[in-house]
Symmetry: C2
Subunit: 384 residues, 2 copies
């Protein structure tokens, strides 16, 4: 099939920022795109050919949308997987596959998958309900501290909590969940793997993530990670093994811990373009968004190397500011060398809300890192 | 004024490829955009906030469109300048200015402007009608060969002809025109100058252009130009002087000849993003489209240096092919290192029609140039 013909239609479930950034690259390739999103104001409403408002979790809505496209993908995991399976049976190419998404949607299933495939990950226990945890503690099957994660719909830190004692347990939702050994780690790393239907596979460089202590959101992503080559190589191999295990088609962002004794453990994965790959728009030969298209359209994979070093800063709403957003001092950061803001266009800010990101590129990663700190100190996402 | 507020509106006259590529960057900055174009199918209809169909040459249409925006720009020179002047009087910021556009729209006025401002350019004569030329030849005021240019609406080679004898004159349109001394040159060079309202000014590296012999369209643009530093410096200074003379606000693409004795002569200018700057999307720290926004919005200018070397190949329709376009072997060029196609989405091809461009980036310009030739030999823009 000629992906550059006007008969071809690419469907995207979700019309948020990730979808929007991917749509820029569909334009470059002149690919006809259809987007489904629950919100009429979704960022992707601009830049797609057909925009449909509808519930991504409703079986019939997803079927009716998906049956009219040739290739179907998603920019968010929280979609109706049964519908994706039916569409696959009807011959629609769904990438990443429904099978992969079903595993990833549930953190317990995801962890079992790693265990079954001998992919290194933190030890864990499964619970049908949070209320069953303290019994396990009483029986000595589990001991504080540990990490609690709701099995479903965890995103950007919500649904994750470090539990140091009974009191931390009481205010948690009583849902299907897992507990994980609390891993003391040196670094949080991520590797984005790109794989197409033909099985061609490439990895982006290992990136290093710095988290905001309170918001539990990534604050800086640094590419390449400032770690020894042997650790980077180890992380790359774990990421490759993970993508191969899923027989993944598309991008797979693999988040990992580098433990204090330099083991690499998979934390979790995202089957889509990822915040840890935003730097690639400015720094890489092939941006993660173009690469995702190449993967799901069965095109040759692009070069994943970097032209220059990159650091990404997430723009999150300042504390104590809720209301119409103002990007204070944005002109000042635009005057800094190699700085590109990406404003997501959300009109309302609130504390720690993800409002955009800024990429800083430079031939020297140390310089990029310094400018990134200056950016962070300078721009303020506040309310009017 | 806060350019990042939703109250701000940027108006763009023309919804073609240049406008479309600029719109990607308005999204990045979340700038509200309004586009006016005569065609309901204009590429920019996607990716702008408000799309209006209307005649760019009709005074009232341009006034009614322009009076509702804060800053007005254009992606094509062929617009109603009287309307731009009236809008300036009403307080709309028109960048580049109506005054500049009026000079550039008429090649005779443009040449006089260079003469008045001591900007080096080929000697020329003005004629109210082509029919007056042979008289000038008879009087010995002009001698073959020379270059004939219609004063108005010359674009991509149309309206330009090398005249070697009377027979060449006869089939030319009888319009206001100029004749220029035919300059034997080593290279055609271009420099894109960026200048904002505050007077901050930067130049992109000098690029080298190779033209297609028959179509008289740029076939390769090579950045940086493979010329001695002193020549590059000279070209850069001429371009700066030209932009300063216009007190230009926005991008000014200055096309120049490097003569056989290494003089630099200005051929013509374009007051907008330009084909000779497309390489900047992949190769530069700041693409020409983001830079144009920075210029006309009074933002600090971005870094004009390159991350890597770049070569651009124009994709034009193959000879003897007219009809529904097919990009034969596009998958093959996607497998080449550092190759990014930009397909403009025109459904119909015809000989030499500009259908897109391909950028090739590499740390080594010689490698990029080799791959560019391979791209040129591989992809074919043909009809079904």
């Amino acid at each position: 099939m000629n992906y550059f013909s006007s008969n071809f239609k690419l469907g995207i479930l979700g019309g948020g920022q990730l979808g929007k950034m991917m749509l820029y690259d569909t334009r470059k390739f002149d690919i006809y795109t259809c987007v489904l999103d629950p919100s009429a104001d979704a960022p992707s409403r601009l830049a797609c050919d057909e925009f449909t408002v509808g519930d991504l979790l409703d079986y019939d809505t997803v079927i009716n949308f998906g049956k009219n496209v040739d290739v179907l993908t998603f920019e968010i995991e929280n979609v109706n997987v049964d519908a994706l399976e039916s569409l696959e049976k009807r011959g629609v190419k769904v990438f990443p596959s429904a099978k992969t998404l079903r595993i990833i949607q549930n953190k317990a299933t995801q962890k079992l998958f790693y265990r079954d495939n001998e992919i290194p990950t933190a030890d864990f226990s499964r619970f049908a309900y949070t209320s069953e945890i303290d019994e396990a503690v009483d029986n000595g099957g589990l001991s504080y501290p540990f990490v609690w994660k709701s099995a479903r719909f965890g995103y950007d830190g919500t649904g994750v909590k470090v539990v140091r004692g009974l009191s931390d347990l009481t205010d948690l939702p009583n849902v299907e969940c897992i507990t994980e050994t609390l891993i003391p780690f040196k670094n949080e790393l991520a590797v984005i793997v790109a794989r197409n239907e033909q099985g061609d596979i490439k990895t982006y460089p290992v990136v290093e993530m710095e988290f905001h202590p309170e918001a539990n959101q990534v604050e800086y992503v640094i590419c390449p990670a400032r770690i020894p080559d042997d650790i980077a190589k180890k992380a790359e191999l774990v990421a490759l093994k993970t993508a191969e295990a899923y027989k993944h088609v598309g991008l797979l962002a693999v988040e990992m811990f580098q433990t204090e004794n330099d083991d690499i453990l998979v934390n979790e994965v995202a089957p889509r373009p990822h915040n840890s790959g935003h730097y690639s728009i400015e720094a890489s030969y092939t941006s993660q968004f173009e690469q995702q298209l190449r993967c799901i359209l069965g095109l040759p994979l692009g070069n994943t190397e970097s032209k220059v070093a990159g650091v990404m800063v997430n723009l999150v709403g300042a504390e104590n500011h809720t209301g119409n957003v103002v990007y204070k001092n944005i002109e000042d950061i635009l005057a800094m060398d190699g700085v590109t803001p990406h404003i997501y266009g959300k009109k309302q800010t609130r504390p720690f809300r993800k409002m955009g990101h800024v990429t800083i590129v430079n031939e020297d990663i140390a310089v990029a890192r310094d400018i990134a700190e200056k950016v962070k100190r300078t721009i303020e996402v506040i309310s009017e």
